[in-house]
Symmetry: C2
Subunit: 335 residues, 2 copies
Amino acid sequence: MIRLSLAEARELAESILLHNGFNLAHARAVTDTVIAGERDGCASHGLYRVLGCVNSLRAGKVAADAQPRVIDQAPSIVRVDAAGGFSQLAFQAGLPLLQEKARANGVAALAINHCVHFSALWVEIEQLTAAGLVALACNPSHAWVAPAGGSQPLFGTNPIAFGWPRPGNMPFVFDFATSAIARGDIELHRRAGKAIPQGWGVDAHGQPSTDANVVLDSGAMLTFGGHKGSALAAMVELIAGPLIGDLTSAESLAYDAGSKSSPYHGELIIAFDPQRFLGAATEQHLARAEVLFESIQGQGARLPSQRRYEARARSLVEGVQIPEALYNDLKALLA
Amino acid sequence: MIRLSLAEARELAESILLHNGFNLAHARAVTDTVIAGERDGCASHGLYRVLGCVNSLRAGKVAADAQPRVIDQAPSIVRVDAAGGFSQLAFQAGLPLLQEKARANGVAALAINHCVHFSALWVEIEQLTAAGLVALACNPSHAWVAPAGGSQPLFGTNPIAFGWPRPGNMPFVFDFATSAIARGDIELHRRAGKAIPQGWGVDAHGQPSTDANVVLDSGAMLTFGGHKGSALAAMVELIAGPLIGDLTSAESLAYDAGSKSSPYHGELIIAFDPQRFLGAATEQHLARAEVLFESIQGQGARLPSQRRYEARARSLVEGVQIPEALYNDLKALLA
């Protein structure tokens, strides 16, 4: 393993992205999210993703200098046309108007269109909770996951993320794939030559498989939680696809045309302002949420992001460690 | 089994509710939902629930003539104070303003407060999809479900329901408990003296149990999908509890004080207007959603509400059948 300070990790990611042709705004926005992932112990959304960014650019599947365009679509809807660039800069562009609309109206939606997407959603959710807002976000990806009762890839890993602000504390945040596991985790098993657990995927005939190559290349992943997880995956396809005028996971995969680039589609973020729901009683009701959190932790259960926050606290002191093979692959992109 | 036409079933439910003291508006609104449940083959949300309505009234836990009060809380928020009555009439009262706000702003929320709640959410979701809106709804219930990694009841069964309008077709609708199973299903097992499957609940020590009495009386139910289902259950507690200034499932159960009445809490419904997101391109993008549905059904998988719609088609012709014991229990409430 190679140890890097967060500053070194950031410098490495940003210089690779710049060297390979991304403009400064995109390089910084993408670096922010991969460093956040690495810092929080989410290797599958960490520095590893820089390889994919460069791959997507070389395949002609992402615009290195796209200028996001913010559209005031309706009193409670912001759209951002990412113009074929990575989603991160588009999110940054739309965030101020989303916050303004949520505070004015109580609820508002941000629809990001035509973006290339690989980011963990909690990075964006935390920016909304930091502003005192409750937030929900989701997006399709590539058609890799079979619906419950089926055998063919149709849904993406379709993450759902949620955040709740906790004044004076780390926010309550979860962010999970509606697939049984993130595709990045299966990819890491493949890179490591390890078998995957039962329940993550099936082969081309719909039979259970523990071979990462089979599941990734010819079979399909499975949703978590059977038909309920499958229903949620379908909801994500709909509300972060056709509802916002953007691609489903099947359409995104067709667009990819075998280049193995990051998915190209949309993203939906919904923000709620507790102040608009609760007025003067906001503080009192946020305190009742704290009782819920205490009741979870008081019986020995964990809050969803605790492990991530613990990794963050460590990384801020000790930096991060990445496999030497990954470090070498990254350095090679500076040649 | 006793066979009833839908008109007979409706007449039976409404007359029991009126005879026991509910006013006409509440009796009709409640009857609408229990008949919809029975008609669609959802016995756990069907005529059986009329027993609970009368029990709640006799226990002094529901107001038989509450007048819902509609509050224009913010440009995208409607609140309805149900004033201690059943939720159905409050939903009816808030629906027109929710629709208006969703159409004006693109996204809007309806927060129902201080309601007594037992209804299946799809009944409400279908009213929004019939108006061409996309809808998401959820509510807490009573603290019956342990968080993942815990052993004590904290969450309700916390249903999440979603609907997508399909012009010229039945809407895409799902409605599921974030518990492994609806509490009503465990109650039906208890009434029938049957063991429940593994994975539905634990005993007071957190050990798996197949005894419905143990799970209902001294243990806890489990969420579906492990830590992901548990995270969703927590989200429902937060956004349909403190966010709308209403009770968590633990607070609702404390308020119940052992009377075994229907839960008393709030409900959150979010409506999205595709026209506001998509404008002139609405039809084109709704057609892309149809491709998704065809891809699910084309590989032999089912859409979430198909079984329910098939039951509906049968019931409209043949009426419904209920156990004789239930029929007798219901008739006894007319004495």
